[in-house]
Symmetry: C2
Subunit: 166 residues, 2 copies
């Protein structure tokens, strides 16, 4: 068997058409992915940025602003605006660092945890339905591809979070 034939036989999933379908699948799926939390947040004065902050503070309680910055990939000024409202509204607590007083450690208050739950539940419900419909093998492939698509730095952040969870 020639190399050309071999590759033709096995790399059909790398054609431009297949890649384009992957791109469009990402686009449409991400819309679904954010739709449910967005609906809930729309009723309040919050947006997607607040959701992200709440999610990762919940995931890593006591994290510093700088740490959160690296994970979210936005400027500190942008994050600060979001944090300011969350703190003012009593959803997030910011405490001065013990060893390094420049740092602020972030925690969710009870009210913050409640909102996190509400948002998480909505988002997880869709993810759960999709996972169940697709089955465990598809889910494994899903995560493999997503991981391969991340920037190396983000992949490291993702892996760190994953391992800290379990």
């Amino acid at each position: 068997m020639s190399d050309g034939a071999y590759r033709g036989e096995n790399l059909l999933f790398l054609t431009d058409e297949q890649l384009r379908q992957g791109i469009e699948a990402m686009f449409f799926a991400y819309r679904g992915f954010t739709a449910d939390p967005d609906r809930i947040l729309g009723d309040m004065a919050y947006g997607r940025a607040h959701h992200r902050a709440i999610h990762f503070i919940n995931r890593a309680p006591g994290t510093t602003v700088n740490n959160l910055l690296l994970i979210l990939g936005v400027t500190k000024q942008s994050l600060n605006r979001v944090l300011r409202t969350l703190i003012a509204d009593g959803l997030v607590e910011s405490t001065v660092g013990k060893s390094d007083k420049r740092e602020r450690h972030l925690h969710l208050t009870e009210e913050g945890k409640q909102l996190e739950q509400t948002l998480s539940d909505a988002q997880r419900a869709r993810m759960r339905a999709a996972f169940r419909d697709a089955g465990p093998d598809a889910v494994a492939g899903f995560r493999t591809v997503l991981e391969a698509m991340m920037d190396p730095e983000m992949r490291r952040a993702y892996t760190r979070l994953k391992e800290s969870g379990q």
Copy 2:
């Protein structure tokens, strides 16, 4: 075997922790997904919204404004702002409908096609690398899960596009 044990054995991929990892994977991967085109667009006066419009006009040449609206899921005012600049800059052509003169049919000009290629190439390169690293089975799973995650209406739009391509 009890029902509880059965489910415990087989549905471990549906635990909250697994779902949360899926959610975070989606978040980090989407950042990578848009990173390369965003970099290119940042150098011009365009943004992600222009990219999306160009992508789908290229995908379905002659599509109407209304059609594009449904696919992109934004308001006409929002789309119009983007289209106006693209038409003014000579990347998109808008022609009055033949059978229904109320409609506007959208096409990319040569210059528009060129930008589309540049953006597509960047985004496809990352997708191709991810697909190759993950392998065909993982890619199949990836697409199955994404499809299951879409809103039904978007799934229909996605399927229509997919079938029109091949």
